[in-house]
């Protein structure tokens, strides 16, 4: 029974076992299922090689061994029902939530996991020996294993729980950066980086005398990979780059960048905030030294994020925050420190939230990151094409084409109308939630020559109808403001 067998394979691959079987599905290189949609087609695709016919519309909240579903109901339609927050009206219109790059919504399964933690077994972890404490510790450590499996880390000790991706980057900057960087050492970034990827390095550069260098955009309005390559030299100690841009929707070829960096002995920190929630990310394939992501962007609770770091790197890093949990022995005049990850997890962690993140990962894996990614590619295309129909609109980032995929988000401006005015009217008159401002990317906006932009960003629980509603509302908004002039 081949279909059952394949479904078993699917569930084996998606299940959160502590160590994933490194399972390679025979996969002819169909473009959409090969890599993580970097701009170069990577042939080293692996566990995510599910072909579309087998990944079907499995009900998201259910278990992997459901019947293959029928019909052409989209993933968005199927999963929407799992997200109670989406079913409400704002300002008299139904909510159309298109601000997922800022934060994602949470399925019932995650809400239940959180509630259940606090109701049934809330207890401090790693300390007590009583029943509740033991249960909480197990659940917390299981969540760590789930994260490790989700990104295919070799061991769960390579996952450090933090408050968010920003804290994770600060951890690397202060712990690894302060002890490693010397005067004139170079840190390479792109001008499209999020402030959280830039500012911690500015702070550390000030203290150590290291120098920050920035790669500009090329004519496709994505970071100039060629220039990045040329910029990497023996002076480079670390390259800090996003995987997917939260403004441009472009995707960087991380695997290649890592190769270039490693050639000169430099490390690579990948800001995967906009990739981990939307596609399969495999740190073995990427070979990244550090990778960060936030729980709240991947259907998990706020207040939780993680740093992935290669074991040998983390072991050599000094502590970041000091306090309980990260110590081994404490004397009056000195202390000794725990092994990673505990070394970097001072104080009582966000236990419930870690468990919630684990539940989010269960939920996402139940759908399948490949399936999510394919659906979002469709949505990305649909959004981009329909937005182009709005008069005088300028969408930032690369134009989607054969081998250039965009993430399912568009930052844009409409001539002569301030993006904040657009966002306000969309919210007030149409219940459409988008973002306006600089999206924590002021250098990028300065480079693009604008003060602010509007941004609509989708996730797998959005539908093409959401896009239709948005574009219709946007056209109405543009007409409204033009009529005032």
């Amino acid at each position: 029974m081949p279909s059952t067998f394949l479904q078993l394979c699917c569930s084996a691959m998606e299940t959160l076992a502590p160590k994933l079987p490194s399972f390679k599905v025979l996969n002819p290189s169909s473009s959409s299922s090969s890599s993580y949609c970097s701009t170069t087609r990577s042939s080293s695709s692996l566990r995510a090689g599910l072909r579309r016919p087998f990944s079907l519309s499995i009900s998201a909240s259910a278990v992997r061994e459901g019947d293959p579903a029928v019909g052409s109901v989209s993933l968005g339609h199927v999963t929407r029902t799992d997200f109670p927050i989406l079913h409400q009206e704002v300002n008299g219109s139904k909510l159309v939530y298109l601000d997922n790059a800022a934060t994602s919504q949470k399925p019932t399964a995650v809400l239940k996991a959180l509630q259940n933690y606090y109701e049934a077994y809330n207890s401090n972890v790693h300390r007590g020996i009583h029943f509740l404490s033991s249960k909480a510790t197990d659940a917390y450590e299981l969540a760590r294993k789930k994260v490790a499996a989700f990104i295919n880390a070799s061991e769960s000790t390579e996952i450090v729980f933090t408050r968010n991706a920003t804290e994770a980057i600060n951890l690397v900057a202060y712990s690894w950066g302060m002890s490693t960087l010397k005067p004139e050492d170079e840190v390479i970034l792109t001008i499209a980086e999020h402030h959280s990827a830039i500012v911690p390095w500015q702070l550390v550069a000030q203290k150590t005398g290291a120098v920050l260098k920035f790669v500009n955009l090329d004519e496709t309005e994505s970071p100039d990979i060629e220039k990045l390559r040329q910029m990497i030299s023996r002076k480079t100690k670390i390259v800090v780059v996003h995987h997917v841009s939260n403004v441009l929707a472009s995707v960087l070829p991380i695997e290649e960048i890592v190769v270039w960096a490693h050639d000169v002995g430099a490390k690579v920190l990948v800001d995967a905030c906009q990739s981990v929630p939307h596609m399969a990310v495999n740190v073995q394939d990427l070979d990244a030294d550090f990778l960060v992501a936030s729980s709240h962007k991947m259907c998990g609770p706020t207040g939780m994020g993680f740093l992935y770091g290669k074991r040998e790197l983390l072991s050599a890093m000094p502590p970041f925050l000091g306090g309980g949990e990260m110590i081994s022995d404490v004397f009056l005049d000195h202390s000794t420190y725990a092994e990673p990850p505990s070394r970097f997890e001072a104080g009582t962690p966000a236990i419930g939230e870690a468990i919630g993140l684990g539940a989010a990962i269960d939920y996402l894996s139940g759908i399948g990151m490949q399936k999510i990614h394919e659906y979002e590619l469709e949505l990305a295309k649909y959004l981009y094409e329909n937005l182009l129909s709005v008069p005088n609109i300028r969408i930032y980032g690369p134009v989607p084409s054969g081998n250039t995929n965009r993430a399912a988000l568009c930052s844009f401006n409409v001539e002569n109308i301030h993006p904040t005015d657009i966002a306000t009217f969309l919210d007030q008159q149409h219940g459409v939630a988008i973002r306006s401002g600089h999206h924590c990317a002021q250098p990028l906006h300065r480079y693009l020559g604008v003060n602010a932009s509007a941004r609509a960003s989708l996730h797998f629980y959005n539908t093409k109808e959401d896009v239709d509603d948005f574009v219709r509302a946007l056209n109405d908004t543009v007409s409204f403001f033009n009529s005032f002039k």
Partner: protein, 228 residues
């Protein structure tokens, strides 16, 4: 167009040919002669009849017309010159609050702000200088403040966002020409009802009018300090 005598008291409600849901329209913002009744400058005189006609003429094709009463009748002008500056500021503040409160639909408040945005006199490009930027706004707002020969604060503002311009317009209506002490006394909470699009209180970064008000007050204090 009929203009009222300058020194009559402005009625809060007025007759108009079409009116929307009983909402109150502020009198033409820039037609108030200042409190000292002997001090009608030629600038003020010129304002009244002409600007009156000009500013209340709407394009009949504009969809917003249905909401705004169309003025063929009296252009509301002067206020009682016996009111002191503090009464004036408090009075204008009450009117603004009352006006926005009378619009229960958030979208109507947006539209009203856009209407006031159109009334804001445009500033030259030189005003869009970095030192005039109001910090903290997601839109760009430029503010100029100076003391006039009578020691009152005069404000001018501009923004790249129409909604922000609307906020500036209302704030200038309230505070332009007021005594410095009055400017400084206004509290953000008094203007909470102007929270167009923001459900909740003033603490969001995007709260433009709050930031502009703070900027007006800071500049006023600086002007006072400078003049002593």
């Amino acid at each position: 167009m009929i203009s009222s005598p300058f020194n009559s008291i402005v009625p809060l409600s007025f007759s108009s040919s079409s009116s929307s849901s009983g909402s109150v329209m502020l009198p033409n913002l820039y037609d108030y002669p200042r409190p000292k009744r002997t001090n009608f400058t030629s600038r003020n005189l010129a304002f009244m009849p002409l600007k009156c006609i000009h500013k209340y003429r709407f394009d009949s094709s504009s969809e917003s017309d249905a909401r705004f009463p169309s003025f063929s009748a009296s252009c509301l002008t002067a206020t009682d010159a016996r009111l002191t500056s503090s009464d004036l500021v408090a009075d204008r503040l009450r009117r603004v609050v009352a006006e926005f409160r009378s619009l229960p639909e958030p979208i109507d408040r947006v539209k009203r702000l856009l209407h006031y945005a159109a009334l804001l006199p445009p500033l030259g490009d030189s005003a869009r200088a970095p030192e005039n930027r109001v910090t903290g706004c997601t839109t760009q707002v430029w503010l100029e403040a100076e003391l006039d020969e009578l020691g009152r604060v005069r404000f001018r503002a501009d923004s790249d966002s129409e909604i922000s311009k609307g906020f500036c317009s209302c704030l200038i209506y309230m505070l332009d020409g007021a005594d410095p002490e009055e400017v400084v006394k206004v509290k953000s909470e008094d203007l909470a009802d102007m929270n167009v699009g923001l459900h909740g209180k003033s603490h969001s970064r995007v709260n433009t009018w709050h930031n502009v008000l703070i900027a007006m007050q800071k500049r006023t204090i600086a002007l006072l300090a400078g003049s002593e």
